[in-house]
Structure formats: structure tokens, C-alpha cells
């Protein structure tokens, strides 16, 4: 079965690109941050440098790792679901569910390994560059050399492979079970994520304003709250969809599609909510942190400036990663719908109407994602701000949030419309006969 997995990969390299890309990027981000642990553990590193390196790796590296895990898992879930037809075919040819499972999981693990190995080089360069930023900001002594060791390698490969294998297992189970699981496990996961996330956010209050790791609990909490929201959002949306006053054939189809595709939707909502949440929360927390430092007046201008650059670099990496993952999953989910678009066209929909359906769906998705992402992010920001300053409402104004929302909406609509337009180039009759 593993031979079959490799074979199916070789025959269709394009199909695996989305998975490979997310594994590669995820592993690169995780390895880059975790190589700071290796660097700190080198003999001869002074304690101040080691301290700032492990704090950075522990805080941002920590929640970055959690984020990467969910991002890879959600992309893979989108990808594996699309192979329902192929798995059905395998079952008809006499493959047992266990064999199909081994094939799909084997394939996912193989891709994840390749992605992780490919990421080693870039992660070394990235780690070195990151260390350079630390040294420029004066947080780490110039004499410290970058090191890429077991922690970086182990965490990068471990996270990527376990996220891939876990997502593939769950997706396969869904396909081979025959009966549609009514999502008891999903509900449990959702509430667990919300509960642990809420607890993490609350635990922020156990820290003092000067703690170096103060940003960690609200960030962890916000990620988990996002995941919980992504799992629950489709069901909450269902009730709302009935009340949407959408006239016209495109709106009619969009609403009905979204209602039936609750499970598929949460795969796309996950990166969207994570992006909105992480981008708005981490950037706002960073701004609060910078303002608080400025107000305390302890470090003098140049150092403060450098520290701000450092933190923004670190947070920026995470935010850009989220954005790429969002594009990746939207692209994968839309490409897969070529057959459905063909059926709509044969039923009498013009290409414009199909794009209209996709556009309305994208808009509803974007609004939902932004709403829940904001909710989750806000929880983290309020807790952080309440502890770091005295007021829970950050004095930043909505500038960052508005920018994040604009990017989220533009990326969502842009990706789905662009992908759908490309998909529509295939003639309708060909599109419906292509095996998905």
C-alpha cells in the first residue's frame, strides 16, 4: 500500500503541491524559531543571551508551533476530503479500510517528510537571520553563533509529520466510515478547545506586567479559541443563513451550498479565523507592549526601537505564514469544485452566475471568519492589555484591526474568484466528466 501511495504521488505531483507547500512552510517556521533553543544551549553562550533566546523561542516559537500544527492539519483535511472518489474506487477494487488508511496516511507522511527536509536549508538561513535581528537589537551578544540542532530538527519534523498523519487519519476515517459521522467528536473537540483556550486566556492574569512570557498565554488561548470557533462556526452559521435576504439565483445557490457543506467549510474557516485572530491579536499586543515600554521610559530610545523591530519581525513571520496558509486552503478547496461548477453551467448558469455564487459564498465566509477571528483575538488582547497596562481596552484604535480585516477580505475573495475563473476555462462537459 505504501508503494501505491508513492505511485499515486508520482502520477499526480500537482495534487500534492498544496500539502507540500504547507508542510514546507510550517516546518520552516517551526525550525527557524526552535533553532534559537539550540543556539541558546551552545556552550559558551552568556546567560543574558541564552535567556533572551529561550524566551523568544519559548513564547513565539511555542504558539507558532501550535499554529503550524492546526494550519497543516486543516489544509490536509481539505486535500484528503477531495479524494473521496479515489478511495471509493480503491474500496471497490478490494482494499480494506485499513489498507486505504495506510495509503492515505503514508502519502501524507511522505509529503510531510519531504516538506520538512526541504525546509531545513531555508530554516537554517532564517534562523541565522533571526539571530542577526536579535544581535542588532542588542538582546544577544555578537559573539554568539547560530546553531541548528536536535531541537529544531526534532520539533520541525515531529510537528509537521504528526499534524499530517493526524489530519489524514481523521479524514480517512470520515470517508471509510460510510455513514456520515454526526460530529460528536467534533463537538467535543470544539468545546475542549474553547475551554482550554478560555483557561489559557484567564491564566494571563496570573502573570505580572513585567513577565517576559506574558504574551504566551493570551496567544495560546487565542489560537485555541479560534480552533474552537472554526469547528462550531458552520453550525452557528446554518441558523443565520436561512434569514439572509439573498435574492437572485447566485445568492440562492450560495446559501444552499454553504448549508450542506458545514464540514468542508470549517476546513477553510480554520485558516481564515486563525489569520484574523493571530494577525490582529499579535500585532495589537505588540503595539500595546511597545507603548507600555515607551511609557515606562526604562530602555532608551535606540534600544526600544530595536526591540520593537525584533518583535515585529517575529510576529510578522507568523502573520505571513497564516496568510499563505489561508490562500493555500482556499485555492485547494475551490479548484476541487470544477465538477460542481460544470454541473451548474449545464443546468443553465452563465459563467458570471457561477462566479456570483462563488463570490457570495466567499463574502459570507469572510464575514464569518472575520467575526469569529475578531472575537477570539479580542479575548487575548483584552487579557493582555488588562495585565500589561491598567486598562483592558488597548489605546491603539482600530487601525491594525481594520488593516487585518481588509487583508482577510481581499485575500479570501481574491483567491476564490481568481481560482474559480481559472477553473471555468475547462469546458462544462469536460469538467463534469473529469474524475475529481
Amino acid at each position: 500500500m505504501f508503494a501505491l501511495a508513492l505511485r499515486s504521488l508520482r502520477q499526480r505531483p500537482g495534487r500534492a503541491t498544496a500539502t507540500l507547500l504547507s508542510a514546507f512552510l510550517g516546518a520552516a517556521v517551526v525550525m527557524t524559531f526552535n533553532s534559537l533553543h539550540d543556539t541558546a544551549a551552545r556552550p559558551g553562550v552568556d546567560s543574558v543571551s541564552a535567556q533572551s533566546l529561550s524566551t523568544a523561542a519559548g513564547v513565539v516559537g511555542g504558539y507558532g508551533t501550535l499554529l503550524v500544527f492546526f494550519a497543516i492539519a486543516s489544509t490536509l483535511t481539505v486535500n484528503v476530503r477531495q479524494r473521496g472518489a479515489e478511495m471509493e474506487l480503491l474500496r471497490c477494487s478490494g482494499a480494506t479500510p485499513a489498507q486505504i488508511g495506510r495509503m492515505v496516511v503514508g502519502e501524507a507522511v511522505a509529503i510531510a517528510l519531504v516538506g520538512a527536509v526541504l525546509a531545513i536549508g531555508p530554516a537554517m538561513l532564517g534562523g541565522r537571520a533571526l539571530l542577526g535581528v536579535f544581535q542588532d537589537s542588542g538582546q544577544v551578544a555578537r559573539s554568539v553563533d547560530h546553531s541548528f540542532g536536535p531541537v529544531a530538527l526534532g520539533s520541525g519534523v515531529g510537528i509537521t509529520v504528526s499534524a499530517a498523519a493526524g489530519a489524514a487519519l481523521l479524514a480517512v476515517r470520515r470517508v471509510t466510515l460510510r455513514r456520515r459521522p454526526r460530529g460528536r467528536a467534533r463537538t467535543f473537540l470544539a468545546y475542549a478547545a474553547l475551554l482550554v483556550g478560555g483557561a489559557a486566556v484567564c491564566s494571563t492574569f496570573a502573570f505580572s506586567a513585567e513577565d517576559a512570557a506574558l504574551m504566551a498565554p493570551p496567544a495560546y488561548g487565542a489560537i485555541l479559541l479560534s480552533v474552537g470557533c472554526a469547528l462550531l462556526a458552520p453550525r452557528l452559521l446554518e441558523g443565520l443563513l436561512d434569514r439572509l435576504p439573498l435574492a437572485g439565483p447566485s445568492g440562492y445557490l450560495a446559501v444552499r451550498n454553504l448549508r450542506r457543506r458545514a464540514a468542508e467549510m470549517s476546513g477553510v474557516l480554520m485558516p481564515l479565523i486563525l489569520f484574523t485572530c493571530m494577525a490582529s491579536a499579535t500585532l495589537t499586543m505588540q503595539a500595546v507592549e511597545s507603548d507600555a515600554l515607551k511609557a515606562s521610559g526604562v530602555p532608551k530610545s535606540v534600544d526600544a526601537k530595536n526591540l520593537e523591530t525584533l518583535n515585529l519581525t517575529v510576529v510578522g513571520v507568523i502573520v505571513v505564514f497564516c496568510c499563505v496558509m489561508l490562500i493555500n486552503s482556499l485555492y485547494a478547496a475551490t479548484t476541487y469544485r470544477g465538477r460542481e461548477f460544470g454541473q451548474q453551467r449545464l443546468a443553465g448558469a452563465t459563467p458570471g452566475q457561477v462566479l456570483g455564487v462563488v463570490g457570495v459564498e466567499g463574502l459570507i465566509l469572510a464575514v464569518t471568519g472575520v467575526f469569529f477571528g475578531t472575537l477570539a483575538g479580542l479575548a487575548g488582547v483584552l487579557a493582555f492589555s488588562a495585565v500589561r497596562t491598567d486598562s483592558p481596552w488597548p489605546g491603539q484604535g482600530p487601525g491594525i484591526w481594520l488593516a487585518v480585516v481588509a487583508v482577510a477580505a481581499a485575500v479570501t475573495l481574491g483567491t476564490v474568484l481568481f481560482t474559480a475563473r481559472r477553473t471555468l476555462r475547462t469546458p462544462a462537459v469536460t469538467a463534469v466528466t473529469l474524475v475529481a
Partner: protein, 261 residues
């Protein structure tokens, strides 16, 4: 522009000839690898007729159907549906042309998986912005034997049931011509018989014109006439066909083409 013409023809009396092909040619590929799928095919079908198109694999049956149905543009020749010529234009214009004129029944059903039986049936009307007569849709679905499955999703139905939904969908839009591409290709004999009887009823009861591509002589015997196609050319016509006569003719068709080459 097409929209206005299509509305007008919908309201006007249908033309006597539902479908007319004049010297239609279609070639795929170019140069050495070019394949001539249709080589000057001419064909006229009267309103209210049920015609089967048969021929060996690669004879151009499917291409003929696609060109006649406005899904593909022929390289040469003229296609007239209900007296109106299918002309150039983008996909959007062709789509508007097909609305109200052409209905489809495919081997793979092509029902939208997210819509219920009732919703699938009225979808073409919704897309065309036409008035939706739900009572009429229910009536037709009941007539095809699915009156109790209105709220089901396609994947909860058997193949035969899905195909009956597809026929109901084609009937509700009241098109001039219904094109069926191997409509029984994926069905068992019982399901196939139901579907073929419904296509017959579409002609006799509802007055539609049906063109069906098939490779099954038994399916073809339900039609009023069979036209044969070989190597992209017309190769005869058999009125009032029986399964045996069709099979016989088809076998010789193969001989002729081999001798011809």
C-alpha cells in the same frame, strides 16, 4: 441580445422542425494528430420525435450531440434549434441560448449534490430568472415516481431515481429539444426501462423532441427512429426500430466501415 430573442421564441409557436444540422463538421487537434469527429453531417428532426443516434465508439455520436446542443461550436456548417441558428458568442451567450430551448439528461445525472430533488428540478428556471411554478414541478416529480422524495439529496437516491430527477428537471424547463447522452449507461435493466419509458412519455405526453445517444440496441428500440453514424458521417436511418434490427444493422455498419477503409 440573445436573451430577448430567447424570450420571444419561448412565447411564440414552436417551429415545425425542432433540430436541423447542415453539413456540420468538427475536427479535434491539428496537423498530424488531427481527428475528424464530424465530417459534413446533415440531419433534420421533426417536432415531437424521439430519435436515437447510434454508431461504434469514435463514430462522433457524442460530438454530434454536443454540437447540436450548443455545448460545442462546430468548425463548419449550421445548427438550428427550433428554427433559430446557434451562432458565435461566448459561453454566457450560448448558455442564454440554451435556456428554454435545450434540456439535458446525462449518463452521470449531473444533479447538484447540495440541492434537494425539488430544488434541483427548479434550478434551470431559477438560473434563467423565470417564474418558478412549484406546483407544476411537484406534479412532474410525482409523475416520474418521486413525489415522496422531494426533500431528498441526490446521494440518498439510487441511480435510476437520480436519472428520473434529471428527466423531471429537463421537463420542467419545457425545452424544445431534450438531449440525452447515454441516459441508461449507468443503470440496471429495470432502472433503464423506467427512464426510457419516461423519455417516451416526454415525447408523447409532453410533446417534447428527444435526441438520445446510446450504444445499447435495446435502449434505441424505444425511439421512433434510429440514425446511424460511422466515422463522422451519416450511415443510414432505421424507422420503427426493434432491438434485433438495430443490433443487426449496427454489426453490418462495422463491416462496411472496415471494408470502406
Amino acid at each position: 441580445m440573445f436573451r430577448r430573442t430567447s424570450r420571444r421564441t419561448n412565447e411564440s409557436e414552436p417551429a415545425q422542425e425542432a433540430l436541423r444540422l447542415v453539413k456540420v463538421g468538427k475536427t479535434y487537434g491539428a496537423g498530424e494528430s488531427a481527428v475528424t469527429a464530424l465530417d459534413g453531417v446533415s440531419l433534420g428532426l421533426a417536432r415531437g420525435s424521439f430519435t436515437a443516434v447510434m454508431g461504434p465508439s469514435g463514430s462522433g455520436k457524442s460530438t454530434l450531440l454536443r454540437c447540436a446542443a450548443g455545448l460545442e461550436r462546430p468548425d463548419s456548417g449550421i445548427v438550428r434549434v427550433d428554427g433559430v441558428e446557434v451562432t458565435g458568442g461566448g459561453e454566457a451567450e450560448l448558455t442564454r441560448f440554451r435556456r428554454g430551448r435545450i434540456g439535458f439528461v446525462f449518463q452521470q445525472y449531473n444533479l447538484l449534490p447540495t440541492l434537494t430533488v425539488a430544488q434541483n428540478t427548479i434550478l434551470p428556471l431559477k438560473l434563467a430568472g423565470r417564474r418558478v411554478d412549484r406546483a407544476r414541478a411537484r406534479e412532474i416529480l410525482t409523475a416520474v415516481g418521486l413525489g415522496d422524495r422531494l426533500g431528498s439529496l441526490p446521494d440518498q437516491l439510487s441511480g435510476g431515481q437520480q436519472q428520473r430527477v434529471a428527466i423531471a428537471r429537463a421537463l420542467v424547463a419545457e425545452p424544445r429539444v431534450i438531449f440525452a447522452d447515454e441516459p441508461t449507461g449507468a443503470l440496471d435493466s429495470r432502472g433503464a426501462r423506467d427512464v426510457l419509458r419516461l423519455l417516451q412519455e416526454a415525447v408523447r405526453v409532453h410533446g417534447r423532441t428527444v435526441v438520445m445517444v446510446t450504444h445499447d440496441p435495446l435502449a434505441a428500440s424505444y425511439a421512433d427512429a434510429v440514425v446511424f453514424l460511422a466515422d463522422g458521417r451519416m450511415a443510414g436511418r432505421l424507422p420503427a426500430p426493434t432491438a434485433d434490427a438495430v443490433a443487426e444493422r449496427l454489426a453490418h455498419l462495422g463491416d462496411d466501415t472496415r471494408v470502406g477503409v
